[in-house]
Symmetry: C2
Subunit: 185 residues, 2 copies
């Protein structure tokens, strides 16, 4: 990866490059081995950065993992716009389920949950909540009958993440349809 890393963050500058390299290193290490094997010196070495930098910028693995999770789960899925809430939700559940198929994503989630405590866990869902809110909001603008966000989150995000983390088998598109059907009465 050296110095010519394709940067995902917007502003140029060394800080941004370091941040990107470190985030990338965390994702790589998480994809390669168990999260317990991840230490700050290891991450720093992989990122081509001095360990001191990581200690000073992030302080702990918990914060680092939280940040990486937040970045990874932010903007990874485009909020669908099919014209109906049902269509939006079905499409969205299928998309999230597909995303959760990636073992690297799973590893990152598990690590964020385990190491980062509640903050790490919420980093995994905050953007999903925003997406759900957007879809519900749009339906409300359309004048449709809008269910509660909590209710939708419980019954969509719940099974979605439950299967990903505890079961290991993602849901099919049919499964997504059934799930949405159960929410929209």
């Amino acid at each position: 990866m050296s110095t010519t890393v394709p940067i995902h963050t917007r502003p140029g500058g060394r800080s941004a490059r370091v941040r990107a390299a470190v985030h990338r290193a965390v994702e790589e290490l998480l994809a390669e081995g168990p999260s317990e094997a991840m230490t700050i010196p290891l991450v720093a070495a992989r990122a081509g950065v001095h360990p001191t930098t990581v200690y000073r910028r992030w302080g702990s693995l918990a914060e680092l993992l939280g940040g990486v999770a937040a970045s990874r789960f932010s903007g990874d899925i485009v909020v669908p716009d099919t014209g109906t809430l049902r269509g939006d939700l079905e499409r969205w559940v299928a998309d999230v389920a597909t995303d959760l198929t990636d073992p690297d994503v799973l590893a990152l989630m598990r690590a964020a949950i385990g190491t980062g405590g509640h903050d790490g866990a919420s980093a995994c869902v905050s953007d999903r909540h925003a997406q759900l809110t957007a879809m519900l909001e749009r339906e409300h603008m359309r004048g449709g009958d809008t269910p509660e966000l909590e209710r939708v989150a419980d019954r969509l995000l719940g099974p979605l993440y439950y299967r990903a983390i505890f079961v290991g088998s993602p849901g099919s598109p049919d499964w997504a349809r059934e799930l949405v059907g159960a929410v929209l009465v």
Copy 2:
């Protein structure tokens, strides 16, 4: 805790005593601080046991946490028998929700998920699956219409664990009733 620890495992003997002490130490440490601060020497010291023993019997924190989680979530909840599947499930969901209120339980789950990989996570739900299966089986014997285990797990265990880990707010009895209502058509 010294030597007069009330033993939960069946056979008497030193091995069983050590196992119990170590499990207890893990739970205590997990309840006190972040899981990343937990190391084998620390656990051993707390258990009043030599670190070598832990290294040899468990090998890694992952296996240890998996075992502790399996023990903790095994037999902690009595399968209800109210006479109807709906009643059983409502009671059971409420019980599990209550159990998930305990911060120590949450800490253990998070650690098992993060450190133990998939095995650690499945240790948190395998007994719940058994309980669900028992209730469904009983309903089947009664001659009732029995939903699929997968479906029930998705829609009950999903929201239950989702709220516990990602949201942090447990569900009320009313919430449990609604959830069960959505599963039983």
